[in-house]
């Protein structure tokens, strides 16, 4: 866990003749939360998928590099070892016919962890993710767990990998407000305790307000604005940012808006 800084440099993704991500660069340091925000289709998920070499069929990375502590690194060496991922829909991220324990073993096997360390590492990760009774949980199938539990389980698997960075793609979008808050509290705690560097992909400015230090606003495949979170809310400069913040604040009719 000694890596300190991750740089995405000039990432570009095409689908056929269409450019979907157009030269996105960002820096993520240990212990910070960077939010990548924008409307659906703005290219935020594709940017991360390209960095991890996990682009969906029909799209191709056309350029860009990822640097780790100042040296280029191949996507497949990044994925799982340096960067763990948490996805939006926990139900589709798990194999429905395999138990949580099977998933945990698969994760550790893929990372080349020695078998004698598996049990301790999985139990610790589950407890860090706020899941008590690890032994009972490991025997459960995904359908026996609620959406909130599955999302915690996905975070636990990310923790078990001991990767220093986490890409969280809409981690709370499919959860109710109570589970949302719990998961965001959990991510905030992991950043504090382990210095996890988190890239948070979201369209929800409430999530940004809760967790982010810095914000990148994407539109049409490009980063249109990049600033500390306070500046994004206080002085949004780009029209897209202003629209996002205004729509968000309109949900808080009693909140004072002018600084």
């Amino acid at each position: 866990m000694s890596h300190q800084t991750l740089n995405l440099v000039d990432i570009a993704v095409d689908a056929g003749a269409l450019r979907l991500v157009d030269g996105v660069s960002l820096t993520l340091a240990r212990g910070e939360v960077v939010a990548l925000v924008g409307a659906s289709g703005s290219g935020k998920s594709l940017t991360c998928a390209a960095a991890l070499g996990a682009l969906p069929a029909g799209t191709r990375r056309q350029g860009g590099q990822v640097w780790l502590d100042g040296a280029p690194i191949a996507p497949k060496r990044l994925r799982g070892r340096v960067v763990a991922s948490v996805l939006q829909n926990p139900r589709s991220a798990f194999n429905p016919v395999r138990t949580l324990g099977d998933h945990a073993e698969e994760t550790l096997q893929a990372l080349g962890v020695e078998k004698r360390h598996w049990k301790a590492r999985i139990h610790r990760a589950l407890q860090e993710a706020g899941l008590d009774e690890p032994q009972r949980l490991l025997d459960l199938y995904p359908f026996e767990m609620s959406g909130g539990m599955l999302q915690r389980a996905m975070i636990a698997l990310a923790l078990a990998s001991e990767a220093p960075f986490l890409f969280a793609d809409e981690p709370t979008t499919d959860l109710d407000v109570i589970h949302q808050r719990e998961i965001l509290d959990l991510l905030a705690g992991l950043r504090e305790r382990f210095g996890l560097g988190i890239l948070l992909i979201t369209h929800d400015m409430g999530v940004v307000a809760r967790l982010a230090d810095r914000v990148l606003v994407m539109d049409q495949g490009r980063v249109q604005e990049s600033a500390p979170v306070e500046a994004i809310f206080r002085q949004p400069r780009h029209a897209v940012t202003r629209a996002l913040v205004a729509a968000h604040l309109s949900l808080y009719p009693t909140q004072e808006i002018t600084p």
Binding site: A39, S40, G41, S146, G147, G148, T173, L175, D176, V177, I178, H179, Q180, R181, L184, H203, D204, M205, G206, V207, V208, A209, R210, A212, V229, E230, F233, R234, A243, L244, A247, H248, L249, S250, L251, Y252, P253, T254, Q255, E256, P259
Partner: protein
């Protein structure tokens, strides 16, 4: 007279196992409510509280284990054929997952036309015009009628489902987390559409959600559910103040409007004005 009401509704699902019957899980317990014409009522609760089940009972997709659902005072399960068709026309539902709610082999135009064919007397010659009008009402381009569901984004397809729900000029639309997956500006656009329909055409809405902010924005009344029971029935004011334990828990979990450093700066300036 109430448009739609529930009286002492209980519901449970018996979980069938191969060799034994597991204990039935109670999903709803003694739920009673009234929906009046033209009002927008929020049904607020966390996941698993039974709100979707209640929505399915109110729209006649399932029949309660005990108790009754009444449409304009008549028990739903005992409506004659003509009244049942009238109920189908006047009470519509939009689900959370649009991909699962449309036939992938039909064009968008055909999807919106289905209720026109089955539930209205509108002559076929007027269908295309009506479909275009409905799509535009839902914020979509009328030319979309020729495309297929897989060509649309989730947000576009959800608005197609909303256009379809509007097709039969319903008196009530039940929205089961129907805007949750849209980008916020589209959510707000749909909420404004619902408010306009309620105001101008007297359409009532039952808005099922876990997000108190949306209830506060569009609803005139809110029902709070906890573990299969209604625990609060309150008029919506700004700011919305709920008194039940569950209502307060849902209010407390609302995401912050501003980053903490901005909020705390403001608290120093005007502590009493910050919620």
């Amino acid at each position: 007279m109430s448009l739609l009401s529930a009286r002492g509704v209980h519901h449970h699902y018996s979980r069938a196992a191969l060799f034994r019957t597991r204990a039935a899980t109670a999903v709803l317990e003694d739920v009673s409510l009234e929906l009046q014409p033209g009002e927008i009522v929020g049904l607020l609760g966390r996941s698993g509280c039974g709100k979707s089940t209640l929505a399915r009972l109110l729209t006649g997709l399932e029949t309660p284990t005990r108790g009754e659902v009444l449409f304009e005072g008549a028990v739903l399960s005992r409506l004659d054929k003509a009244r049942r068709r009238d109920f189908r026309r006047r009470v519509q539902m939009v689900f959370q997952d649009p991909q699962g709610a449309v036939n992938p082999r039909l064009t968008i135009g055909e999807i919106v036309r289905e209720p026109l064919i089955h539930l209205t007397e509108l002559p076929r010659a007027h269908h295309a015009e009506r479909i275009a009008e409905l799509l535009e009402r839902a914020g979509l381009d009328a030319s979309m009628a020729h495309r297929y569901p897989f060509e649309l984004s989730g947000g576009e397809l959800q608005r197609v489902c909303i256009a379809r729900a509007l097709a039969s000029n319903p008196a009530l639309i039940v929205l089961d987390e129907a805007v949750s997956n849209l980008d916020l500006h589209l959510q707000l656009q749909m909420l404004d559409l619902f408010a306009t329909l309620s105001r101008e055409q007297g359409v009532a809405f039952l808005f099922v959600t876990h997000d108190l902010r949306l209830v506060e924005r569009v609803c005139s009344r809110v029902l709070v559910m906890e573990r299969g029971r209604l625990v609060e029935n309150a008029a919506v004011s700004t700011p919305l103040s709920l008194v039940s334990r569950e209502g307060r828990a849902l209010a407390e979990a609302v995401l912050p409007a501003l980053p903490r450093r901005l909020t705390s700066a403001r608290e120093r300036l005007a502590p009493e004005r910050v919620c």
